[in-house]
């Protein structure tokens, strides 16, 4: 599975750099980072949604497995949000000459990173496993409430340099992209989603094995 995803995403890189045509309105080839940047942001949002579902399940069931699921999803969400921020700042450097411009989109993703970094600070601060899981699950619900505002609302309310890939006119949502660019982007979205599923299952299995080992040792 890992090798299949590796080959798939290597294909996306080659297609994104060599096969996809140039997009109008961008400096040089800076737009090509969209094939990595957008899927990373998508996986971060997906991971935070999984974190919310697992956290709500934990609050209902008090199952350690749901806590492991929530922790694994938040870890991956933070990782991919960080990668999206890094690729976004590289785009900013190529397009606008600076890595960081305090654009509404950059500021809102930084706030989101801090919100989820605090989730891990909270997990590290509480020693008792059940108390830690309960507090983290409750915090995750509040953290998720901020996510749609920070990712989807704030950058659209305030004037932003960030380009928008979709346009909504007369109730119809369209991709503003060449069909070949769109194909590479969709292939990348599929590859990154598969990568998230694979990493998430590995992280959850690892957490279960480590928990069982801790139980055996105590």
């Amino acid at each position: 599975m890992t090798w299949l995803l590796g080959v798939w995403l290597a294909g996306v890189i080659v297609a994104g750099l060599l096969w996809a045509p140039a997009a109008a309105g961008f400096q040089g080839d800076s737009f090509r980072i969209v094939f990595f940047h957008v899927p990373q942001a998508w996986v971060a949002v997906l991971a935070f949604c999984v974190n919310l579902v697992a956290s709500i399940r934990y609050l209902r069931t008090r199952s350690a497995l749901d806590d492991s699921r929530a922790g694994a999803a938040a870890r991956l969400g933070l990782l991919f949000a960080l990668l999206a921020t890094i690729t976004g700042s590289i785009f900013a450097k190529l397009e606008w000459g600076m890595f960081w411009n305090w654009d509404p989109r950059e500021t809102s993703i930084l706030v989101l990173l801090l919100v989820y970094a605090a989730y891990f600070a909270l997990r590290q601060a509480v020693a008792d496993e059940e108390r830690r899981a309960s507090l983290a699950a409750a915090y995750a619900v509040f953290a998720f409430v901020t996510m749609p505002f920070l990712v989807f609302v704030v950058p659209r309310v305030y004037a932003s340099l960030h380009p928008d890939l979709v346009e909504a006119a007369e109730g119809v949502v369209r991709f503003r992209m060449d069909p070949r660019l769109r194909l590479v982007l969709l292939a990348s979205l599929a590859g990154f989603t598969g990568l998230f599923v694979w990493l998430y299952s590995l992280e959850v299995r690892l957490a279960r094995v480590l928990a069982a080992r801790r139980r055996e040792e105590s």
Binding site: T2, L5, G6, L9, A10, I13, G16, L17, Q27, G28, D29, S30, R32, I33, F35, F36, L83, T87, I90, L94, L195, W198, L199, L202, E203, R205, L206, V209, L210, A212, R213
Partner: protein
């Protein structure tokens, strides 16, 4: 190849290699722990 294209290729390959090294390392650690049990 333009300069921006070169740097994009470097960034994409580094992220790709990093994620897969992490994935393979995680899988290997998990297999070892499961075998120990």
């Amino acid at each position: 190849m333009t300069s921006s294209m070169f740097w994009l290729a470097v960034v994409m390959v580094v992220i790709w290699a990093g994620i897969f090294a992490y994935c393979l390392g995680l899988g290997r650690r998990l297999r070892r722990l499961e075998e120990d049990r």
